[in-house]
Symmetry: none
DNA sequence: TTGACACATTCCGATATAGGCATATAATGT
DNA sequence: ACATTATATGCCTATATCGGAATGTGTCAA
């Protein structure tokens, strides 16, 4: 088998950096395809394809406005990701604590004076 | 071009559901490869490959223990994801935002003393 | 050394991607 | 009807994936 489709999941959809940039830009409000393509330095077909993926996973919605198509955020699709990552929140503080411990150890080592073989 | 490597990014690494399951399981503490494979219903080589990806992006660390290799979480790699998704928090739910605003208004109103027309 | 166990790595095949480019569709104005 | 603008889609190639099976590497014990 190959990798799961980019359209199978919000996780897969946002794995692509340009699609994340699109979503960030859309935080400022609805945008047309050409606008997005220009501001992100990509071609119009690229933007259209990325937007198609984002739409298929429900991260953006479209609205016809004359000959333009305005894309806007539909952030509900990001909730699964936020919830999944949020399940690890309590471990971050632990690693921060460990970072603190490490810093303390460094300070202490510096006070005790340099040893041989301390680097690498 | 093809899709970005799964090892290029934490975003790409966790796009795979089985790798997310591994990380969730590791919340309970260090685990051996065979343990993970058995509990997640995958073969040992599959587990090894997924763990390699997770290790290359810095989401897990290994520790040799006899003939076993114990894998443990290194959640610092998840921070970029949490921060990115967190940037959308205020868009998730208008009702949540309004609830927050409402709470803020309540606090402020309590300090200033009750007025007419503070709601809506 | 041999055997047993835990784990990593390889080769294979099928599949889906992202980019580039051309072209099709759609809506508007004249 | 036609031209113009905005967007979508199709074709192509190179590449990286995941799964499966086999095999390689490493560690311990007798």
């Amino acid at each position: 088998m190959a990798r799961a489709a980019t359209t199978s999941d919000a996780f897969n959809a946002i794995a692509e950096p340009q699609r994340r940039e699109i979503l960030v830009l859309l935080q400022g409000g609805e945008r047309s395809v050409t606008d997005l393509a220009r501001d992100l330095g990509m071609t119009q077909p690229q933007a259209s394809k990325h937007l198609r993926v984002l739409r298929e996973v429900g991260l953006v919605r479209v609205r016809g406005a004359g000959k333009q198509r305005l894309y806007g955020l539909d952030v509900r699709g990001l909730r699964p990701i936020h919830e999944w990552v949020g399940g690890f929140e309590r471990f971050w503080s632990e690693s921060f604590d460990r970072l603190d411990e490490y810093v303390q150890e460094l300070k202490q080592a510096r006070q005790e004076g340099p040893h041989d073989g301390d680097d690498q």
